[in-house]
């Protein structure tokens, strides 16, 4: 488990030190002069200089409102904003750039779908007798919107359970996905268990019964190459949501991709400037997509930052990022296995999972683990990671989670593992 071993790890990004130098915060020192070991990227990722610079350049030189402003600054700002949409569309291989909507975060993107379905009339209408299917490993942001929808429409919420290994229990698929199913909403990669779900197979099954499929790609977009246009149509979800701040972009922006036909059939979400065609006091007509779903001044400088972020990730290459994550995850799983009394929640094979690893240690509460690590400069997350039902499924109230990203080194994993050994000894275990 020495850094000699680490350096020989297959799949690591070759120019890791160059990449690290792109992220100013990584050279920060914490209390007591500790270097920062940031292992909380599934919570939010750090930002490379190029993203920060793009935002600063926009604010210092091109700031203006978009669409509505016809002057030179307005044209520059609008162009930068719409260019960001093009970049994001390319990042996920969207069949059409107009299908890419900017929201404030992934949570809003998921709520947008649930809310517009609540008001839809006609074929998309949700009501009594209809069923919405989610899974027990969802983030709260992909649970609560559907609870609200079903409570408000009289529909029924159902969910996939989990196997002891942390996979979806697919044995019940034919019972769960039926003619009554209107929507199946699931995460691509679990933010707690790390599990990568068989999104294509489930989508295909859901489409057979005429259900819409919503994929929460908040943890997938940072680490898996996504190419919607390349997916066979019956395996392509109808919606895909992710959030800017986890793909090295800023907060304040999220993305919802939706298939054109569905977006066009849905009623508007928020009403206001930009989403209208004509407004009369009596009633209004609405703009086409994407604007129909973007009421008010959009997150302009955030889109500029997000555009720079996905460009940065694409330049590194999502295949390379994914290989790096897998290498580190495998290395971390090995290291964690050396800590007595430590139990990993979720799949133990790095090839079946993403880069977030949640675990418990017998006799030390996750808070206390995280506290000891923090004093050593190691940032991890402790709690239920907004996935309380998944924790309940495994009989735990909370866990400690380490999560790596493209700037994480094996040496940082070594530091984590050593600190966990220290934690046990500190608490006299």
């Amino acid at each position: 488990m020495s850094s000699q071993t680490a350096a020989r790890l297959d799949g690591l990004l070759p120019e890791l030190e160059v990449i690290r130098a792109d992220f100013p915060i990584l050279s920060r020192t914490l209390a007591d002069g500790q270097p920062l070991v940031y292992l909380d990227s599934a919570n939010t990722s750090q930002k490379p200089q190029c993203v920060i610079d793009a935002m600063v350049d926009h604010l210092e030189r091109h700031n203006a409102n978009v669409a509505r402003a016809m002057h030179q600054l307005g044209a520059e700002s609008s162009e930068a904003f719409e260019a960001a949409r093009d970049k994001v569309a390319a990042f996920i291989g969207a069949p059409s750039r107009d299908e890419v909507l900017f929201t404030k975060n992934a949570s809003e993107a998921l709520n947008l779908v649930a809310n517009t379905l609540a008001w839809a009339r006609g074929p998309l209408e949700v009501g009594e007798g209809d069923e919405i299917v989610i899974t027990e490993m969802e983030h709260h942001s992909n649970i609560v919107p559907w609870q609200l929808l079903t409570q408000r429409t009289g529909a029924t919420l159902r969910w996939f359970g989990l196997t002891d290994e942390g996979h979806l229990d697919l044995s019940a698929v034919d019972d769960l996905i039926t003619e009554r199913t209107k929507v199946v909403s699931l995460t691509w990669v679990s933010n707690m268990l790390g599990t990568v779900n068989p999104v294509a197979a489930i989508t295909k099954r859901a489409h057979e019964v005429g259900a819409l499929v919503v994929v929460d790609a908040s943890q997938a977009a940072p680490q898996l190459p996504i190419d919607l246009a390349a997916m066979p149509e019956d395996e392509r979800p109808d919606f895909l949501a992710f959030t800017g701040h986890k793909v090295v972009g800023p907060t304040g922006i999220g993305v919802l991709w939706g298939a054109r036909a569905v977006l066009e059939a849905l009623p508007p979400f928020l009403g206001g400037g930009e989403m209208i065609e004509t407004v009369r006091m009596e009633s209004s007509t609405y703009a086409g997509i994407p604007h129909k779903f973007e009421a008010g001044t959009p997150p302009i400088v955030e889109a500029v930052g997000l555009g720079a972020a996905v460009d940065y990730l694409s330049a590194v290459g999502l295949d390379a990022v994914h290989a790096h994550e897998q290498a580190l995850t495998g290395y971390a799983l090995e290291g964690l296995a050396t800590v007595p009394g430590l139990r990993v929640l979720g799949p133990l094979d790095a090839r079946e999972r993403g880069g977030a690893i949640s675990f418990e240690i017998d006799g030390v509460h996750p808070h206390d683990v995280a506290q000891v690590l923090d004093v050593r400069g190691i940032a991890v997350r402790a709690g239920h990671h907004c996935a309380r039902p998944a924790h309940a499924r495994f009989g735990v109230q909370s866990s400690t989670r380490m999560s790596s990203y493209l700037y994480t080194t094996p040496t940082e994993i070594d530091a984590l593992v050593e600190a966990l050994h220290y934690t046990r000894s500190y608490f006299k275990l």
């Binding site: 509505r68 307005g74 609008s78 162009e79 703009a287």
Partner: protein, 149 residues
């Protein structure tokens, strides 16, 4: 500065703006559409009458800037009397000119007075103005054809 403005506001454009051709709504027609530029509020209501595969009449009522008004006027000159397929081809040519960012050389044979809009292509914010009535015409014509089997 004035040179830049002059490339946008060609005399031909200002003439059509002041004296628009074919303006006003007329019968008969198979389809009427209403198009809006939501960012600036320019609006056009436009009717198309197709007879024997020919664009027999295009009439319209509109509010908007010099570019959008002149464009409607020039458009009617260009499409009225032409077979639908040929008019659509002119539409394509105008669209290509507008989206060319100033790099497309306009063909006077096809576009006639429409070549005056070449300068508009260099003003991205105004391209929508120039296209408003053309888009409305295409929409209405497509609907007319659906109406008349």
């Amino acid at each position: 500065m004035s040179a830049e403005l002059d490339s946008l506001y060609q005399e031909i454009i200002l003439d059509h703006y002041k004296n628009p051709h074919h303006k006003g709504l007329r019968d008969p027609y198979e389809a009427e559409v209403h198009h809006v530029n939501p960012t600036c509020g320019d609006e056009v209501t436009l009717r198309v009458h197709v007879a024997d595969g020919v664009v027999a009449d295009v009439s319209y009522d509109s509010v908007g800037c010099s570019i959008s008004q002149a464009s409607a006027s020039v458009m009617t000159d260009l499409v009225i009397g032409k077979p639908v397929a040929e008019a659509m081809a002119v539409h394509e040519e105008f669209l290509a000119l507008m989206q060319g960012k100033g790099t497309v050389e306009p063909d006077e044979e096809v576009l006639e007075d429409g070549i005056a809009f070449a300068g508009v292509a260099k003003f991205p914010a105004r391209v929508k103005c120039a296209l408003l009535s053309w888009m409305a015409w295409k929409d209405a014509t497509t609907r007319s054809l659906e109406e008349t089997p």
